[in-house]
């Protein structure tokens, strides 16, 4: 009995269930939806059908499930030249780390359902979100493949460019309310969302998330025409599936951060008591907003090609970084004027 109780205790420890329910299950559902949507939307722009025959009645929705199951049952090749330990661990750790920010953000204003004390949640969430790319670089390095290493190095370049922007622009939201508490940030948006108050910071954050998750036009580390699959060139089977999933899960986690910081979180709704009203409905609202953001991200695929590495870095440092700083200044100004 004690063991069962212990397991139940662990599962119902707030950060864990939020990670499992929203982080793992929620992100899996959203990622499957988004990948399907991305393929269908791109197909629509390109005047074709996209995945269809796998299940014609639902327009090929289970296509991603088929791909996932196929990957899960494919041979996992570990080449003799790789550093096997890191090679296997890196994608697993990267995947876990990329959804970890979800464990420390509030999805409701009801303190009973906060996973952790919220006083410094903005800082903690941002800090955790910056860890996972290191494991992608490690994955590239451990693969001992030239394309992987080039891809890993590119990843490193891109990280240095986007991380500061992402942190600055999301901190702008917390600067407006002069608090590191995510709940304060969301509550302050009950009248007017920060996307309207501070569009500069939102735009900078949008671009930073695109760069962070290799979305077009910044799909540089995995740019297939020079470096095959970037850091993941040597990965096969489930490990590759994890790697691909990690990028989208990270996009999901960052989208949730953005939804909280700029799109008002659970804004039109006021969470009440009980698990339904206090936790599930507000979190579904947040996830829905994050999904809308991700749909916007996936449209860039059909419109743009990709930038060159130096152009992307140039743009990030010369254009987006000042924009993020301006956004931060704007936030401070608004805080000074007491707009919110």
């Amino acid at each position: 009995m004690d063991v069962v109780k212990l397991i139940l205790d662990i599962i119902f420890y707030p950060p864990i269930y939020q990670l499992l329910l929203i982080g793992l299950v929620g992100s899996l559902v959203v990622v499957i939806f988004i990948l399907w949507f991305e393929r269908k939307a791109t197909a629509r722009v390109q005047r074709r059908l996209g995945p269809y025959h796998v299940a014609p009645r639902v327009a090929g929705f289970p296509q991603l499930v088929a791909d996932l199951v196929r990957y899960a049952f494919q041979e996992v090749i570990i080449p003799r030249t790789v550093d096997a330990g890191i090679f296997i661990l890196a994608p697993i750790v990267a995947t876990i780390l990329s959804i970890l920010p979800i464990a420390v953000v509030p999805l409701t204003s009801n303190p009973g359902y906060w996973p952790v004390p919220m006083d410094y949640s903005v800082l903690v969430a941002l800090a955790i979100s910056t860890v996972s790319p290191i494991f992608l670089i490690l994955a590239g390095w451990a693969s001992n493949n030239k394309f992987s290493i080039i891809g890993g190095v590119r990843e490193a370049f891109v990280i240095t460019a986007y991380e500061l922007i992402a942190i600055l622009s999301i901190l702008a939201a917390s600067a407006t309310v002069l608090s590191f508490n995510f709940v304060d940030v969301v509550e302050a948006q009950s009248r007017i969302w920060f996307i309207i108050l501070n569009p500069l910071a939102f735009l900078a954050a949008f671009l930073a998330v695109l760069m962070a998750t290799s979305g077009f036009p910044f799909e540089i580390p995995e740019s297939e025409n020079e470096v095959v699959a970037g850091p993941f060139t040597e990965y096969s089977g489930l490990l590759y599936g994890l790697n691909m999933g990690a990028a989208y899960m990270k996009r999901f986690a960052l989208s949730i951060l953005m939804a909280l910081a700029f799109l008002g979180g659970w804004a039109p709704y006021t969470p009440g008591e009980g698990i339904l009203s206090g936790y599930l409905i507000p979190s579904i609202i947040v996830i829905a907003k994050a999904t809308v953001l991700m749909m916007a991200f996936s449209f860039t695929r059909s419109v743009y090609g990709r930038f060159r590495l130096d152009q992307a870095l140039d743009g990030a440092w010369r254009l987006v970084f000042p924009m993020a700083i301006l956004g931060f200044g704007l936030a401070l100004l608004e805080a000074y004027l007491g707009v919110v």
């Binding site: 393929r39 197909a43 390109q46 005047r47 074709r48 059908l49 996209g50 995945p51 269809y52 025959h53 796998v54 090929g60 296509q63 499930v65 088929a66 791909d67 996932l68 199951v69 196929r70 049952f73 494919q74 041979e75 996992v76 090749i77 003799r80 790789v82 550093d83 096997a84 330990g85 890191i86 090679f87 296997i88 661990l89 297939e224 095959v228 699959a229 993941f232 060139t233 040597e234 990965y235 096969s236 089977g237 590759y240």
Partner: protein, 196 residues
Amino acid sequence: MSGDGGRVYVGNLDRSAKRAKDLVMGKLRMGRAVDWATAFSLWPVHLTTSCCGCEFAATWSPRFDAEQHGALPWVGARQTNMILIEGTVSKKMACAVRVTWEQMPSPKFAIAMGACAIDGGIFYNSYNIVRPWEIIPVDVYIPGCPPRPEAVARAIIELQRKIRQKRVVSKWIEEGWRPDKEYVAPKEDPCSWWRG
């Protein structure tokens, strides 16, 4: 966890894998699901061996759109499970075909496209070509020079039917090797010119 020389010590992997296989394929009866998933997720690797690549490209163009069937040309050999030989395979290319085939994780399939891939076609007496079936086991042949895109799409559907009706993938996973097809080992090393 990581030992010297890149070895990993995590217990008896073979036994764990066998038990996992028994659980998934035996008790949970995932066989059909795996067949279904693989049939609708045949990703050809990007290896254009010859001029049939024109029609290969057209097959994935909006007019014919083979992505409908779940097939998506993918970049690296490690992430794919199908190789589409497009026409003639020259002696230099034979090495690339074999290496790519060996890089791909099983279960994997091959489609040979065009008359040249069957028996040389118009280049039957060329001194620089190799028959693809000498290097890799081919599942479906497409006649034509070049075959129309519809024929390529048809070959993909045919392969899907084969996988699902003969339950190729689930048997492959259960038995550890492919039961319905002989393993093709090239008689002479296609890369001998490269190794010198």
